[in-house]
């Protein structure tokens, strides 16, 4: 379509050369207009009032089926060929075209509306020395505009001045890249000096040269020439359309790119149009049908040729040949006549019906209350309505971790202080008590600064602290001091912490509630409230966290002048640096840590060390030297840190729970039972990912082995993968068995499928980002795939968004299986787009994932309902629909084929033309739709009870080429019965009063009645789930058939439209004959009984899982509730992941002044969704290349 639009666009005279470089002057419209840069109006709509009809029709006729029917209509106009009246194809075609046109029109009207809304937003533009309110669409390149706080950025701007110090502005880029943290942009000082002086700005005559419009969000290159001076411009000075101004009173900018040239719109490239495997199958089948049609017509045409020579030539006495027609030409004409008669083989209503069914199923997803999340009022949403049945065929799920499996909320859960564990509750007999919502919480009301949202259940800890236990107090003091959190206290007593990693936030909050409140910091001091007493510490040094050190320390001096180093970090790291005197304590703590690890908690060990003043002085001296050194700064600093962080005294350990979303382990278990493989792809560290793997039951202690691939060379990775594979399956061949096949339209597409291999026992595979990069290389990817597919669980950690997509693509390519990717953040977008089905969690990390997803809901656990219930039903319904639809049309058409042998291959139809017209559109449309929208083999509760019901979908068992062939054979049988039984019964008989009954019209009526009744009974047999609506549709259709038939064969219709309704009286005269009804009965019996018998036989001999469950449903009304297992207690020897979810600390920021210059209040959650993006095309944005937060290599 895009090409067409652009074609017409070009016709409109807007021929454009490729822009090499952009050049414009601020405040100089005439100059800028000479370049014909696009203005700021955007247009996402496709049509306008006048172009709608031609363009839309053009678009629609590009569809093969529609074009085919247009061609048929053209054929029908030729009198020598026309075997059917024009209306038999015209009526359905017009109906189909108009339904589609109405849908397209309403879509386009919506786009027009949103375009209009966006284009008509107001913004202040500096024109002729004054600020005027202008609509967005009137903004031109080179205009200077003023933005105010919380406004959307109008176009891509070069930032000139801002209200904030240092010409900073803060923007939120969630709409662009999905990150919610604010980004800072800074204007050039030379422009920033203009401030908000309108005169200065109006007189600003800068000339900008920069790159042409492009879609790179993270790069910008250009120069600003002002008064002969040239300044270079980079991405830091550019505000992009789609961002929102935050925490900034106002700013001025000059427009660089407008409307379609903005990076936002440039990113809105074509979204890949996803199609389901059923779609592909359907295309192939339609092609086969065309082949079948052609060969049937050819057979009949040859028949016609022979007949004309042998019979027709001598029959010319009664039916003279038309001029110039001989047997050969007649045969040729009859080929086309039969193309018309047999056109119902290619069902025109197929595509429309398929769309309707999918739409219906999408609505059911939208309407499902069990997928509605009341906490943030989010219903599930089917954003794409064309993929439903694929939901029932998922074989691989790729899941993000943060925000998808977990809530991205850390809670301080347990701790071990001085060898004593806190945080768990025991009853009198020493049994662990499960903590639920109802368990009494610790009351923190004595502490006015406590965070009310913090919950803790173990009272003994608070008592210990309040008793003044020195270790406990030191423990919390450490937590209150050793971090990089920024406090924010807008009102006295209302504290907010801004932590870079949620773990830190959780720890500081815990300290706050236990009476050690971190209140404020300056670069040199930290002020805390310790058990009600304000204490200010002097901050001497922050030994920041990074991935190698895996620890962070602070050195502080308390008011008494005592120097202390506080250190927290990964347990293994801390334990290496402990003073030997702590050995006993260490043992006890290790015990606790193992326990925590078994529960999947993230742990940190805490230690401190009193420091000597003189040593410290020297150390600071050296530290200063090192930090200002030009060479080897990092190494020297590391050495220094290493030196001071030793002989630590252990305080204890914390355990933070990375809270899983509700029901995640159960969901994963269910999906595993449905034979769906779940791979977790996360940007997180290996430890964290493993941790989550354990806590959501993907990795289990009883697994035979969990392989970790973490090599750093190609060979290493290869070896590790091979070793793992050999261990799992020693007898497997070295080379993967690849099945090569051809598929798709015209069998053009080559496919290679790596066969599944059988493995005893459960294994897990953890692979990290580096190794993955090697493993995804061409020579290793099959090895990776083989090994990974042998494992029950695959966890890839520290992967980049690109790698996520690559993994998905790998599985897609070599497994020929349906994949689903689920995620919530911008870093999941690539994978969501790569997978067959993308699911977005409408969670906290912005809208990016949701916007590019096909389905969205609020909680991971809804996935099981989406797949096991909606997906399964959709697939079942679609397959049943297709099977039945092909059956009904083939049967209908084949009868014509048999009749050809009796009517001299003259393309005479068996049925009345009106019946042919209405058969698909009226008589059989609703019953089959009713079945394929409402049908369910078993209800949702049973679907959950038996996730195995899902497996037939993965194996394509309900509808495939084989099923299609079977369906065709069935049709063939039915059509034979439907033609030859009435023929034999009628050809030599008369009415009970001796009058004609074997005439053409009576036979047509009999044949069509038989057909319709058989089709309806067959439908009844196929329907599992009989609602009142189904009954109504089936009986209603039959009633409608008789009503319409009697009407059309009535005197009145004949007298009004004589030539259209020649069947006058046929219905009355033959439907009152008992032998007509006896024939109908026999025909139905012979068509239906074999089906019943074979189905019954299959149920007895080889019942499918569906049959089994349905059998159970008959016996028990409701499934037995699943037994609730108490959480198993695990003691793990595995060292847990330490709790730092970020890569690099804020250390230098904390100690630098810049960060503290401006720390404004930031609303905790942006509720604003009224953005230009959300209203425009939802799936516009291609992706953002890198995940900035976690995936960097250490």
């Amino acid at each position: 379509m895009g090409s067409v639009a652009s074609y017409f666009g070009r016709l409109g005279g807007k021929e454009q050369k490729k822009e090499e470089e952009r050049l414009f002057r601020a405040n100089d419209r005439p100059f800028n207009l000479s370049y014909h840069y696009a203005d700021n109006a955007i247009k996402t709509s496709k049509y306008n009032l006048f172009t709608f009809l031609p363009l839309n029709l053009f678009e629609q006729f590009r569809r093969l089926a529609n074009a085919y029917f247009l061609f048929l209509m053209a054929l029908q106009v030729i009198p020598q060929i026309s075997s059917l009246s024009w209306f038999t194809t015209a009526v359905p075609l017009i109906l189909v075209l108009s339904i589609t046109a109405v849908k397209d029109a309403s879509d386009d009207i919506n786009r027009h509306k949103s375009d209009k809304q966006v284009n008509n937003r107001m913004v202040k533009v500096l024109i002729d020395g004054e600020l005027r309110n202008e609509k967005w669409l009137n903004v031109q390149v080179g205009d200077i505009i003023k933005l105010e706080n919380n406004q959307f950025v109008t176009a891509d701007l070069l930032l000139l001045t801002s209200s904030e110090p240092l010409n900073l502005v803060y923007v939120e880029t969630a709409e662009l890249d999905g990150e919610t943290n604010l980004k800072v942009k800074q204007a050039l000082t030379v422009t920033g000096d203009m401030g908000d002086s309108i005169d200065a700005l109006a007189g600003f005559k800068g000339e900008v040269r920069c790159e042409p419009p492009n879609n790179r969000l993270d790069k910008f290159k250009g120069t600003l020439t002002l008064d002969g001076q040239t300044y270079s411009l980079d991405n830091d000075k550019v505000l992009l359309r789609g961002c929102t101004l935050r925490n900034t009173e106002w700013c001025f900018g000059v427009v660089i790119f407008g409307g379609p040239d903005t990076k936002l719109m440039q990113n809105s490239g074509k979204t890949t149009f996803k199609r389901t495997s059923i779609d592909h199958l359907m295309n192939v089948l339609v092609l086969c049908i065309f082949g079948l049609l052609a060969s049937m017509c050819a057979v009949l045409a040859i028949g016609n040729g022979i007949w004309e020579v042998r019979e027709g030539s001598v029959f010319t006495v009664f039916l003279p040949l038309e001029q110039g027609v001989n047997a050969a030409l007649s045969s040729f004409l009859s080929f086309w006549s039969y193309v018309i008669v047999l056109n119902t083989l290619v069902p025109i209503s197929l595509y429309v019906s398929v769309e309707i069914i999918r739409l219906g199923n999408s609505f059911f997803i939208d309407w499902d209350r069990k997928m509605y999340y009341p906490k943030n009022d989010t219903p599930a949403q089917a954003r794409t309505t064309t993929l439903n049945e694929e939901l029932g065929q998922i074989k691989y799920i790729f899941s993000d971790k943060t925000g998808t499996l977990t809530q991205n909320i850390m809670t301080f859960n347990r701790c071990s202080i001085n060898g004593k564990a806190y945080g768990e509750l025991f009853d009198f007999s020493g049994q662990r008590v499960e903590i639920t919502e109802k368990t009494a919480r610790v009351d923190f009301s004595w502490n006015q600064l406590a965070d009310p949202k913090f919950t803790f259940h173990d009272h003994s800890l608070l008592e210990t602290v309040r008793e003044g236990n020195p270790e406990a107090q030191a423990f919390f003091r450490l937590l209150a001091l050793c971090h990089t959190v920024m406090p924010e206290e807008k009102k006295e007593g209302e504290l907010y912490y801004q932590a870079q990693s949620p773990d830190e936030g959780a720890l500081v909050t815990a300290a706050r509630n236990f009476g050690f409140v971190f209140r404020s910091r300056t670069p040199e001091t930290i002020t805390a409230m310790e058990m009600g007493r304000t204490v200010t510490y002097e901050l001497l040094a922050v030994l920041d966290f990074n991935n190698v050190r895996k620890r962070m320390s602070v050195i502080v001096r308390n008011p008494e002048g005592k120097l202390t180093l506080y250190c927290k970090g990964a347990d293994t790291i801390i334990f290496e640096r402990l003073h030997p005197s702590c050995n006993k304590l260490k043992e006890a703590t290790i015990g606790h840590l193992n326990e925590y690890a078994g529960d999947g908690l993230r742990t940190l060990a805490l230690a401190y060390k009193p420091l000597d003043e003189s040593y410290m002085d020297k150390w600071r001296q050296r530290h200063h030297e090192a930090s200002t050194a030009m060479e080897g700064r990092e190494e020297r600093l590391d050495e220094l840190y290493e030196e001071i962080e030793k002989d630590l005294l252990l305080l204890g350990a914390t355990a933070v729970e990375d809270k899983l979303q509700d029901g995640v382990p159960q969901t994963i278990e269910q999906l595993a039972k449905a034979d769906i493989k779940i791979w977790v792809l996360t940007g997180d560290k290996q430890e964290t990912a493993e941790n989550i793997g354990y806590s959501c039951n993907m990795l289990r202690e009883e697994m035979k082995e969990i392989f970790v691939v973490a090599a750093n060379t190609t060979e290493g990775v290869k070896e590790e993968l091979q070793n793992a594979r050999r261990k799992m399956c020693p007898e497997a061949a070295e080379e993967p068995s690849v099945k090569k096949a051809r598929a798709g339209l015209f069998w053009l597409q080559k496919t290679e499928t790596v066969q599944d291999e059988k493995v005893d026992g459960d294994y897990g595979l953890v692979i990290n980002g580096h190794s993955l990069a090697f493993a995804l290389e061409k020579n290793l990817q099959l090895e990776l795939l083989r090994t990974a597919c042998m494992c029950q669980t695959v966890i890839c950690c520290r992967v980049t968004p690109l790698q996520k997509a690559q993994v998905v693509q790998l599985v897609k390519k070599y497994k020929q299986a349906v994949t689903l990717a689920i995620g919530d953040g911008a870093n999941d977008v690539s994978m969501i787009k790569a997978a067959h089905i993308g699911v977005g969690i409408s969670g906290q990390e912005g809208m990016q994932a949701v916007l590019s997803s096909d389905y969205s809901f609020a909680q991971f656990r809804y996935l099981q309902r989406l797949l096991l219930v909606h997906g399964r039903w959709s697939y079942l319904r679609m397959c049943k629909f297709l099977q039945y639809f092909f059956y009904k049309n083939f049967t209908f058409t084949f009868v014509h084929f048999w009749y050809a042998f009796f009517c001299g291959f003259s393309a005479q139809t068996v049925y009345d033309e009106w019946f042919i017209t209405l058969y698909n559109m009226v008589y059989t449309a609703l019953p089959v739709l009713g079945m394929s929208i409402f049908d369910q083999d078993v209800n949702d509760r049973w679907s959950f009870q038996y996730p195995q019901l899902y497996t037939p979908g993965q194996l394509n068992q309900y509808f495939s080429k084989k099923a299609f062939v079977l369906c065709m054979m069935h049709s063939c049988y039915s059509s034979l019965i439907l033609f030859f039984i009435p023929w034999a019964a009628m050809h030599d008989t008369v009415r009970d009063d001796g009058k004609d009954l074997a005439d053409y019209q009576s036979f047509a009526l009999l044949a069509q009645t038989c057909l319709l009744i058989v089709m309806n009974i067959q439908l009844c047999l196929d329907t599992y789930y009989w609602t009142a609506v189904n009954q109504f549709f089936v009986w209603g259709s039959l009633a409608a058939y008789f009503a319409i038939t009697l009407t059309m064969y009535s005197n009145g219709m004949f007298l009004i439209f004589t030539s259209s309704f020649p069947f006058i009286g046929t219905a009355r005269n033959s439907l009152n004959q008992p032998n007509v009804w006896l024939t109908i009965f026999l025909t139905s019996l012979l068509c239906i009984l074999p089906v019943v018998a074979s189905r019954f036989l299959f149920i007895q001999l080889r019942p499918t899982i569906n049959d089994k469950v349905r059998q159970k449903v008959r016996k028990e009304a409701l499934p037995a509730p699943a037994p609730r297992r108490p959480p198993a207690r695990r003691i793990s020897t595995r060292r847990s992941g330490y709790a730092f979810s970020h890569a690099q600390g804020y250390g230098d920021l904390v100690t630098s002044r810049r960060f503290l210059l401006k720390l404004r209040s930031r609303p905790p959650l942006f509720t604003q969704t009224d953005s230009p993006l959300a209203q425009n095309e939802p799936q516009l944005y291609r992706t953002i290349a890198e995940d900035p937060e976690e995936s960097q290599s250490p």
């Binding site: 219903p379 003259s906 209800n939 004589t1058 006896l1078 019996l1085 018998a1093």
Partner: protein
């Protein structure tokens, strides 16, 4: 799709809890179980058996005599004569003798039958014009005439079957008696009274109305003189024409010619046994297309003529169903009954 419909509050977007939207419509889910399927099959076998027997008895009670007269009796002369188109105008009559062993009781229907005559060819059927034959005024007829000058036009009317028959009974004693045939009331009521209408004109006779029209090529008589005996049986509403115009679905067909008029002895109870002759005015050429002509005399029941197909088909079906039913029973007994295969 989940749009807010004037609701507000924290649960504004919560979907309605209706049985339809939650896919919980009350429903009946039938299943093919032994309890339903097996009795159904036995029942169907029984029903088919009963129907078959009943129909067979019914059909057996009818009698039918078929007589191919294409070259039979003295008709071979006419057959040869009609081979030559130049003789088309010459009349030719012939006689066929046959005997009835057992009296045909009740109403006896007289049919002519044609074989290998394709009334169902598309072009043949398309060539007719139904509109022409329901014209209501003479002026309208003139108008349609401009398009198709031959009333009735088209290959169907043109090829009307034009043999005529007289049947004579030769009793064992006594003279030959012509068998009276009722030649009217042999069409569908709707055809005679709705579908075909003569153009009406109060002051004109039929001949005047049709004045200026040509007769179809093969017709010896114009359309308004088809039945010389009954002036109301002329024009488009002539019974023979209407019967012929109702095209047969298959190339072998029979069409009603007349019904025995049971008014006088010895025909009050049907056709008595004995010898009969048919005098045929042999006009219709069939040799061109290797066709055959026949006359059929038959009695009827509520089930129509003597067609053995349905009764036999029912009996065969019944046997098949029974066979299948037994097979299914065995399969169920051996495999399905204990329900082992139904377990997980």
């Amino acid at each position: 799709m989940g749009k807010v419909k004037g609701k507000s509050g924290p649960l504004a977007r919560r979907p309605d809890n209706s049985a339809f939207k939650q896919q919980r419509l009350p429903a009946w889910s039938p299943m093919l179980t032994a309890n339903t399927v097996l009795p159904f099959f036995y029942l169907m076998a029984l029903i088919c058996m009963l129907l078959g027997v009943w129909l067979l008895l019914t059909v057996q009670s009818t009698q039918e005599i078929k007589l191919d007269y294409t070259e039979a009796g003295t008709c071979d002369v006419c057959f040869e004569k009609r081979k030559n188109v130049s003789n088309a105008a010459q009349t030719c009559t012939c006689t066929v003798v046959f005997s009835i062993k057992k009296a045909l009781k009740g109403d006896v229907f007289f049919y002519y039958g044609l074989q290998n005559f394709h009334q169902n060819l598309r072009r043949y059927m398309d060539s007719r014009d139904d509109g022409q034959m329901v014209v209501h005024t003479a002026s309208h007829l003139r108008k349609t005439q401009m398009v198709s000058p031959l009333p009735p036009c088209g290959a169907v009317a043109n090829s009307i079957f034009n043999d005529s028959f007289t049947l004579t009974y030769h009793g064992s004693s006594g003279p030959s008696i012509p068998v009276p045939l009722l030649r009217k009331g042999i069409t569908w009521y709707t055809d005679k009274n709705v579908k075909y209408r003569n153009p009406k004109n109060d002051n004109m006779t039929l001949a005047q109305v049709f004045e200026g029209t040509a007769r179809p090529l093969y017709w010896q008589k114009p359309v308004y003189e088809l039945d010389p005996l009954d002036p109301t049986n002329n024009g488009f509403i002539n019974d023979d024409l209407i019967v012929w115009m109702r095209e047969a679905a298959f190339p072998n067909f029979k069409k009603l010619y007349g019904v025995l008029y049971r008014d006088s002895q010895p025909f009050t109870k049907g056709l008595p046994a004995g010898n009969y002759t048919i005098n045929i005015s042999y006009n219709f050429p069939v040799q061109y297309f290797r066709g055959r002509k026949e006359v059929v005399l038959t009695t009827l029941t509520w089930f129509g003529g003597q067609n053995h197909f349905l009764p036999v088909a029912y009996l065969v079906t019944s046997c098949l169903i029974l066979l299948v039913a037994i097979l299914l029973t065995v399969a169920w007994w051996k495999f399905g009954k204990n329900g082992k295969r139904m377990e997980e």
